[in-house]
Symmetry: C2
């Protein structure tokens, strides 16, 4: 199997590549080639007999055709600019999140017109396709009314994915990732950053700022769960999806208070004391428009699984990022 | 007010232009200019002091910019190729139903960057954005999972419309028309044609073919209702829509048997005897994937209205197309 990961330098892309190298196979098939692509050269951090890493911008004409010409069996499309950037730069958001995605889909169709070619295509979408007001739980048949250009671009990608799949141009699945927690790395300025910051920083003995109240509820899954979703999506039988190719992934609905309680179980009161409350009305307002909970029956029935407790999410962070030890 | 109708040579576009000329005003504002555009030159219906009709293809680069440069106050975008054609010609469907729509939206945004410009934009969508399996009634928050490329293109147009409106580039509303019945003109080969044929032809003393069973239920509104939807959408206050700019229009859910019963009330047994049953498994299968009924609370609350009985729909056809007399 030849696997192409587009957006391989991002957090989820890196972890996926690393896991595939460890596995050496995908499902029952050995991986004989792994191609990593991103706008910056992805690190070839892994020992693998046939791995390439290159910088390429899918939004540049000709790039998609070149990537697809190698006829990868599985294509994982993770590349996107984030919500804040797509909102700040309208043209760039549509060019990268919509036009480049469509260019990829179209390149696959064109390649298949030369001689039969029908890869598996895994597209990462987002819960940003939904926009407030919400029901308490967002069900599998709830409509997509995004409140950002990023969410709009992802929702359009989902529609194109379903139509190209229905037409038989590729075998596609779109997966809507929950907010990834605990996100490794440095604190960042994303409005959602604090969900990870308030756990990651105290676990490392550092202070973190909490800009919202403890009653704020949100939808989470670990980086390990995200990688597991992608690996499952790469190999599972897609027949049961029919024409409905896009799925909200399972996750854990939890309040900030529940996150802090889990931190207390695992790292004690000393860690919790490192959380400094600094209410920020701007972040409060943004977050109030975000989904709080989902009913993901379809994904669950198809074998997708996420964590059941925040203790579990924190333990995964300690195992995968901190070498099993709290700093 | 300067009103631009794109797709003005189609059945709904013609009727809308005709009604606007009769009204001479839209809401409380006098119409001082009416621009009709289609890929073929639209008829300059009736006598109006300032009316232009021109052939222009929105899918040709530069056309949208030229149309928008005149800064119409209200733009009604009806232009599309139909479902069957978009399914048969993938490239043409995306070019006309998606790219041309996006070109129009983008031309408005670019015009607004030169100096402030924010027209009302009315986009006609379709119940084809929905795909089976359905609940008995499709509610206002049901997801769009189209089963045709046409439905996909309309659903993408809806998402773009909402995002461009949210960004303030225009004041947009998308209206999903029911199947229009009784459609005037000749019988055509559209799979939905029989819904109109079985009424229109017998009313004119002609035979009509019924390819499905009498229990088939579908969602209808008259041409007059469609024009009323558009006129309301052109002037109503869109504030209550918030970011959710796309609405399923009201309609009448009726079985073929109920249609025939209404024909019997109005034109007698003689007319009903002109319906010849010729079951067609291909059409039966297509129609079984179509919506049967909707719950259109939002549109109703916003003042949109359709017919309540098929007797009414038939009477409108007799008044508007047959000069009040049954042939």
């Amino acid at each position: 199997m030849h696997i192409l990961i587009i957006g391989a330098a991002g957090m989820v892309g890196r972890k996926l590549a690393q896991q595939l190298v460890l596995d050496q196979r995908i499902g029952t098939e050995p991986i004989d080639r792994l191609s990593l692509v991103d706008v910056v050269v992805p690190a070839k951090v892994y020992d693998f007999r046939n791995i390439t890493a290159e910088a390429a911008d899918l939004a540049t004409p000709g790039t998609a055709e070149k990537l697809v010409a190698a006829r990868p069996d599985v294509i994982v499309h993770l590349a996107a600019i984030v919500s804040g950037e797509a909102e700040a730069d309208f043209d760039r958001g549509y060019r990268i999140n919509l036009d480049a995605t469509r260019a990829l889909f179209e390149a696959i169709r064109q390649e298949g017109m030369k001689s039969p070619y029908k890869p598996r295509l895994v597209f990462t979408s987002s819960i940003a396709v939904f926009g407030a007001p919400f029901p308490d739980k967002i069900g599998d048949d709830y409509f997509t009314t995004p409140l950002t250009s990023y969410g709009t671009q992802k929702a359009i990608g989902e529609l194109l994915l379903a139509d190209y799949s229905r037409r038989g141009f590729f075998d596609g699945i779109g997966i809507r990732l929950p907010t990834i927690c605990v996100r490794p790395g440095k604190p960042n300025k994303a409005a959602s950053g604090f969900f990870s910051n308030i756990l990651r920083e105290p676990l490392a003995g550092q202070e973190a700022i909490l800009p919202v109240g403890e009653d704020v509820r949100h939808w989470h899954a670990s980086p390990r769960a995200a990688v597991a979703f992608l690996r499952h999506a790469m190999t599972m039988d897609l027949t049961p999806l029919g024409a409905r190719r896009n799925l909200s992934m399972p996750g854990l609905s939890a309040t900030v208070g529940e996150q802090i309680e889990a931190l207390r179980h695992i790292a004690g009161e000393k860690a919790v004391r490192l959380i400094r409350r600094e209410p920020d009305p701007v972040i409060m307002k943004i977050v109030s428009g975000w989904p709080r909970d989902f009913d993901t029956k379809r994904a669950a029935a198809l074998g997708f699984k996420a964590e059941a407790t925040f203790d579990e999410i924190i333990r995964i962070h300690i195992e995968d990022e901190l070498g099993g030890k709290i700093g």
